[in-house]
């Protein structure tokens, strides 16, 4: 790093080394631009270090434990099972380390200069980087802001990392709590709650909404409620946390529920009530980068902010806070800088929740499509009617639903709750973003026996011609 009075110049400065920032940096370098990336913690950002990757490692391990426990019905009898949490965390950390090294070497192979420290914009074309080594000054032609998000807190329950945890703390626990209360039954709450429930913790989920996952297809929340019950997880809907007391190192949470005020004790509390964009105290205002009233950076389809030459991607801009959205936008920003005709216009962002069963969706729900004025035709296929599901030892809780435009057949949305939904959704994403016709799904061979057959059958069911479910058209439909 260059210290002192001389500013180091770069063509493209990327601030933040998460899935938005590092992808933008590599793409920009591929396009022949000179790139400097600033990261204040670890390359890979929240996703790789304290989010997607470590949580999926724990989810898999916890799922494996549960599979072994239930394998006796297949004639596989294991001895007594125990969980060595420090060892599990060490294994998870090994994965994170491998991937982080991978990112680091990709950046260096692409000749991206990585600067460790905290960046502050100081003008429309300059920023400083503070690190224990001192303060460096930089000038840029273009900058990509990818500073991510931070966990939101609840008033009266300040985060202490011990009793009141955020997702980052929960992923680094060294001992299993007996009782865990998770505040917020969104993606993070469901995923981590499930992990600890499977590992042996008594988990209570408190959710303010009166229905589970209200933004999704309503049947998905219903399936999920049943699934949580079978994992002995307690779900309290309509629960508003009013306060917390500490008694002998134990948390007592007061909350108002539909049936009156209640309280619950917990050895640990995980607050997972959402995240807010990390856009304050970074000098954005000095560069003229404007935010909306919720603190997100204002951008257009080409990821340009209100200051020419400065772009923003990922969690700092409005839209779902998902790594794959950040990466896509990172590529768009890099390509726009290089003069390519890239845009985020009309890009579909699939959503995934790695609960058990998994949930994944893309495009419009049936309700959203109707609100937009479409005549909607849907097809639903339950996983329990699929051979492959049962051979996997899965009971087949869940379904695949295809939402289409009844007039021309365009696929508008695909919604899945069931085994490997996260893997299945990419076909849906391709169909929706390509504006595929529902016949494109029915006329494509899906190999047997596999889980993707559920998409083919759901598309067929929309026309009442699914083979593996009996669903004749109603009388009114027959006449048409």
């Amino acid at each position: 790093m260059v210290m002192g009075d001389f500013a180091q110049g770069t063509q493209v400065a990327v601030i933040g080394g998460g899935p938005g920032g590092y992808v933008a940096a590599i793409r920009a370098a591929q396009l022949g631009l000179e790139v400097t990336l600033v990261e204040q913690e670890e390359l890979g950002g929240l996703c790789l270090n304290w989010g997607c990757i470590p949580s999926k490692a724990l989810i898999h391990a916890a799922g494996l434990k549960r599979e072994i426990e239930r394998a006796d019905r297949m004639g596989i009898i294991a001895g007594e099972l125990s969980v060595n949490l420090p060892k599990l965390m060490e294994w998870k950390q090994g994965i994170v380390g491998k991937l982080r090294n991978g990112v680091s070497s990709l950046l260096s192979q692409n000749k991206v200069e990585v600067v460790q420290g905290t960046a502050h914009l100081t003008g429309e074309r300059s920023f400083t980087v503070e690190s224990p080594k001192g303060v460096g000054r930089f000038e840029f032609e273009h900058a990509i802001l990818a500073t991510g998000s931070i966990a939101a807190e609840i008033p009266g329950m300040p985060h202490d990392g011990v009793l009141v945890m955020d997702s980052k703390d929960a992923l680094e626990l060294q001992a299993l709590p007996k009782r865990l209360v998770v505040v917020g039954a969104g993606a993070i709450g469901l995923e981590l709650g499930t992990v600890f429930a499977k590992l042996g913790t008594k988990v209570t989920l408190l959710e303010t909404a009166r229905t589970l996952l209200p933004m999704l297809d309503p049947q998905i929340g219903k399936v999920m409620e049943r699934a949580l019950k079978s994992l002995n997880m307690e779900l309290v809907l309509g629960a508003r946390v009013k306060g917390m007391e500490k008694r002998n190192g134990v948390a007592v949470l007061q909350y108002s529920a539909l049936e009156g005020d209640k309280s619950v004790e917990a050895d640990k509390v995980l607050v997972a009530v959402g995240r807010r964009p990390n856009t304050t105290g970074l000098g954005f205002e000095k560069a003229g980068v404007k935010l909306n009233n919720r603190g997100f950076v204002l951008v257009n389809d080409r990821m340009m902010t209100t200051t020419a030459g400065i772009y923003a991607v990922g969690d700092v801009v409005a839209g779902p806070m998902l790594a794959h959205k950040a990466s896509y936008q990172g590529k768009v920003a890099a390509e726009v800088i290089a003069g390519e005709p890239a845009s985020f216009e009309a890009v579909e962002v699939p959503g995934v929740i790695f609960a058990d069963p998994e949930i994944a969706w893309v495009g419009l729900t049936e309700e959203q499509a109707k609100e937009q004025g479409y005549k909607v035709k849907t097809g639903v296929f339950p996983f329990k009617a699929l051979g492959r599901t049962l051979t996997l030892g899965d009971e087949g809780l869940g379904f695949t639903k295809v939402v289409s435009d009844a007039e021309v057949g365009t696929v508008l949305g695909v919604h899945i709750v069931g085994p490997s939904a996260s893997d299945l959704i990419s076909e849906g994403a391709l169909a929706v973003s390509s504006a595929a016709n529902i016949e494109d799904l029915t006329l494509t061979i899906h190999p047997h026996p596999t889980l993707p057959e559920s998409i083919e059958e759901a598309a067929e069911q929309a026309e009442h011609r699914a083979i593996h479910i009996f669903s004749p058209p109603s009388k009114s439909e027959k006449t048409t």
């Binding site: 839209g319 216009e345 937009q372 004025g373 435009d405 365009t410 973003s433 390509s434 016709n437």
Partner: protein
Amino acid sequence: MRHVFRLPDVGEGITEAEVVEYLVQVGDRVKADQPVIRVETDKAVVELPAPVTGTVTETPHSPGDTVKVGDPLLVIETEEKAVKAPPEKKEKPKEAPKAPPPEKEPLKPPKVAAKEEEGPVEPAKKILATPHTRRLARELGVDITAVKGSGPRGRITDEDLRETAKKKEAPPPKGPTAAAVQAPATAGFDFEKYGPTKRVPLKGIRKRTAEVMVRSVSTIPHVTHFDEADVTELQKVRDREKTLADQRGVKLTILAFLTKAVADALKKYPMFNASLDEATGEIVYKQYYNVGFATDTEAGLMVPVVRDVDKKSILQIAAELNELSRKARDRTIELEDMRGGTFTITNVGALGGAWATPIIVHPEVAILCSLRAMEKAVVRNGEVVVRTIMPLTLSFDHRVLDGADAARFMSHVVALLEDPLRMLVDVA
């Protein structure tokens, strides 16, 4: 008649948006399709165009306000009288504009709404195109929402876009000139059948222009790049140096400064000073910088050339320009004075017009057109200020140059015009 422009259903499940800013004020005249407001949804910031032409009478929101689909954004008074009065209830006079009556009327997607027709609700139909095709549309500069797909159920193919782009980029040579040169295109026309006419032979400069233009348009794939330069400071410099120029008997024009800026841009981006040798398949980079100036004379269009503009001062260039244009008008100009150009500037500023797409002087590869500099309200540092803005357009030969090249060349010219001191500091 009063037209209430409401937040349209912009699709993607969006139910509300935040007002970022109005692009117009009460009292402004707006044209249909002119962007009037910027709103932010949770997907993006979008500019919404006015659905009708008229005068803005109400801007009920402040930046930061949240508006729901169907809420009024803007009220426009149109000239037309309400022939078929829409079933819009008369709003109570003097009602606080922020609290519109919660009318539930059918909303139309922006495209349909823009047509100002009343009809049944139609959903914003999804455009049938793959991500690849959408990207191609952006690459070709084609508005995919306006393309009619030739595929099944209206699916837009790559070919549809290429066809649209072709029609857009190279309009068929228009008018009698080109047609006359290309011979028998008008052969069967009986012009006299519908009324008396007068026939004048196509000759001289007119004929030469016709030939050159047809050759240019039929060999060079033209693309035109548009930009604007803030010449407020430049005009001050010009006004200040006028005294000196007057003493030397020179009329100092903005065009002379523009020429100097172009000279520097040509040095920086030499491919704009090149020609394509079609016989050998080579690009010829010329190492001399001679700029031609399209000059309107009674006899027609002439293009006198100022040589070695890179080695001359702005005042020298101005002096030569004065002299050459006088000669062109007097018709005392010699043929040699109109040869050897490497780049052309056409200044239609004085004649009016907002924009123009010039045709390249074959075998050059680009032509810059400057238009009338006018005072405009523009935003600087968040404030609306009056600045003098000069529109510039640059047509280039897409065989040799790309859009990105044009953008860079133009940006360089604009930067020099906007900061004239830089010509002193940074121009050799």
